[in-house]
């Protein structure tokens, strides 16, 4: 009797726990959600996050608050989210650095592939190979020839170790088989200032940062790093068109949740993300940034997981060969 009662109570408790768990996922979200952006406010990733968060908030009926937790190439913010409660109220919006930091950092406070649940891909911002306005080479082929013959004179700028421009620059050097003098900056802003001011020769950077300087005639553009031409820069050839094969680099952004977040919740978030990516306002702002939303198939947990896994494998040899580490 006594045992049976205990069993019944335990069963009831378990049912209650199970039920309340289910209810939590069903009612989700019942309070504001925090979306951690592991970079400073005002940067390109922050802008992407705020645009998407705003639109997803409307769909979910709860405000998604963007929280900037910058530092250590984005790993501080990612580690914060990895340690958060897996209840769907803390999310992470990170870019390609999620994959590359797994190689750039020999010691990370979290296991990149096993510490997160996936919500989906958001967008892939294209990059451009740009140069100071009076740089001699006329096209990408000319640039490669020029760089090879003048490798003691040429300077290649980037926005610091692990930055998109640094990755793209490394890939460029490995493609043409030359080591060039790189000039690192703290962030894209100062690097772009010196490119416009003709202090450095060339760099590879996101369209978010380069489109306007290109359109304003302040810098020269050689190619985009995309498969197809970029809509906002229709006259600029792709790297393949300009003679450099297999040179596709994009700054892809994904939304993650801490490991153990119930699948019902990540599914709900994926659905909201997919809706946000079809929001005309988001589409338009993305277009202004020179990028496009990810497809519905990509904006899924599987889409993001596949991307992350393949990108880690893709960058590992490039980074290891360059012998660069961030710690």
């Amino acid at each position: 009797m006594k045992n049976a009662r205990i069993v019944a109570v335990v069963a009831a408790l378990m049912a209650a726990a199970g039920f309340s768990g289910g209810a939590a996922a069903e009612d989700y979200p019942t309070r504001p959600i925090s979306m951690v952006v592991p970079f400073a406010a005002g940067g390109p990733t922050d802008t992407v996050a705020r645009l998407v968060a705003e639109s997803m908030s409307r769909d979910l009926g709860q405000q998604i608050l963007v929280e900037n937790v910058g530092g250590a190439g984005g790993t501080l913010g990612a580690s914060r989210v990895a340690k958060s409660d897996p209840d769907g109220y803390t999310l992470l919006l990170h870019h390609i650095g999620m994959a590359t930091s797994a190689v750039l950092y020999r010691k990370l406070p979290y296991d990149t592939l096993n510490a997160f649940e996936y919500v989906g891909l958001v967008t892939e911002v294209p990059m451009t190979i740009v140069a100071r306005s009076d740089f001699e080479p006329a096209d990408l082929k000319g640039l490669i020839d020029y760089v090879k013959t003048n490798k003691d004179k040429v300077t290649l700028a980037n926005a610091g170790v692990g930055a998109a421009s640094h990755l793209c620059g490394m890939l460029f050097m490995s493609k043409i088989g030359e080591q060039l003098t790189t000039v690192p900056y703290k962030g894209t802003g100062p690097a772009m200032t010196d490119l416009v001011g003709k202090q450095v020769d060339f760099m590879c950077d996101q369209t978010t940062n380069t489109t306007n300087q290109i359109k304003g005639g302040k810098i020269k553009v050689y190619a985009t790093t995309t498969k197809d031409r970029v809509a906002s820069l229709p006259d600029v050839p792709t790297a393949a068109e300009a003679g450099l094969q297999d040179f596709e680099v994009g700054i892809w952004h994904g939304v993650y949740a801490p490991k153990g977040t119930p699948p019902e919740i990540t599914a709900k978030l994926s659905a909201a993300l997919q809706k946000a990516l079809k929001d005309p306002l988001v589409v338009k702002r993305f277009a202004d940034l020179g990028t496009a939303p990810s497809t519905e198939a990509e904006a899924t947990p599987e889409g993001l997981k596949t991307k992350l896994t393949s990108e880690i494998e893709r960058w590992r040899p490039v980074i290891t060969a360059a012998g660069v580490y961030a710690d």
Binding site: G42, L65, A72, V183, G189, G197, Q199, Q213, R285
Partner: protein, 501 residues
Amino acid sequence: MDLLQNLAIGFSASLDPVNLLYCFLGVLLGTLIGVLPGIGPTATIAMLLPITFGLKPETSLIMLAGIYYGAQYGGSTTAILINLPGESSSAVTAIDGYQMARQGRAGPALAIAALGSFFAGTVATMLVAVFALPLTEMALQFGPAEYFSLIFLGLIASVALAHGSVLKALAMITLGLLFGLVGTDVTSGAQRFTLGIPDISDKLEFVSVAIGVFGLAEILRNLENESDRQVAIKKITHVWPTRDDFRQMVGPVLRGTGLGSALGILPGGGAILSSFAAYTVEKRISKTPEAFGKGAIAGVAAPEAANNAGAQTSFIPMLTLGIPANAVMALMVGAMIIQGIQPGPNVAIEQPQLFWGVITSMWIGNLMLVMLNLPLVGLWVRLLTIPYTVLFPAILVFCSIGVFSVNSNVFDLYTVAFFGLVGYVLIKLGCEPAPLLLGFVLGPMLEENLRRAMTISRGDWTVFFTRPLSATLLVIALLVLVLVFLPSIRAKREEVFQEEG
């Protein structure tokens, strides 16, 4: 003619009732967060970004800009009253402003800061309107070599900034430089002096260090020294500056405005650099340099004018090139992108009502600020009569909130506590914290630009002397150095110092 036309477009946008309202909200909020130590414009603007989604682009930028320059007004308030710079750019104001407050002249100090800021704001707005485009081209001439020489000059000049021992000032700058080394080396990505703590793997947070060495240390010292606090309360004689005060502030305000406007255009620590530089210049050319650090009017007027002018002119590269000169400008760029405007050389042409609206709103905002701040002076001064036992926990709470809001990182609070102790020890040793902070800010910039210039020149040292701008700056630095160490001048200064004492 073009300019008048453009200004007309600008005023028609900025005098729009909705824009006027948001301009007012911006400067009011700016003043408030400026007064609250630690809570800076960067965190505030970041938090307010979502609100601007629903506004027109020019309205949102006018409001955000108001927060930024409004904070320059408010920042001096706490610097003067309780030696706690509300903003990093008011760090120098604290030196003489706080001494004035301790002599019962908090009112005049606050009024001088507000009036100086207003004058500088007015001039800088005109400069932005007239010279925005050509000035940006000039700023682009500043490459790594020029930056190195400019910062070198700044560091040398700051030796003269500290009163008392030159040796101690040098030691403080060096200590600041060393703290500045903590974090990731930009060139190689290697981590230096991080002790394996991920939270400082980038760098020590400036706000934490500043609040620690200035704010927390000051609180510790005040708590230990009961009598010091009472002095400030008893001796308040008059709230408004006298005719003599006005006479004394004219020159410094003019020079501060000029210097601030010029340095604000440069990317990097524009506003901070301007206020430090203005203070140094005043002390250098003053007939009574020994009065500095003891409540000199010029020591308040010049840096306050300079930081406001610098804040204003730092909009130039952002508006004309889309290149942010500091974190706040980066947020402005973000706000524009969210609004669907691509910041860059085309904004002035494609969005004249935005470009000129923001510029003209700065002047309107400055007018509002001076009208808002002057009547408040009396109120702020009365803040000093609040018992310190009530005041200091409140200050600590606001500092903590402010520091936490920068990165939402608890570790930054430990940093404040650590640097509070460092600052306290330094006060006990009779060392000035201002040069330490300057070294901390400029050290990394100095190193970065030195190595960048050397990389670009392929290891050729002569690059610093063959580029005319860079060479000129280095020659000035050399002259300053000679002046500091010239025995006759030193002897004379010591002499005057003793007579006064």
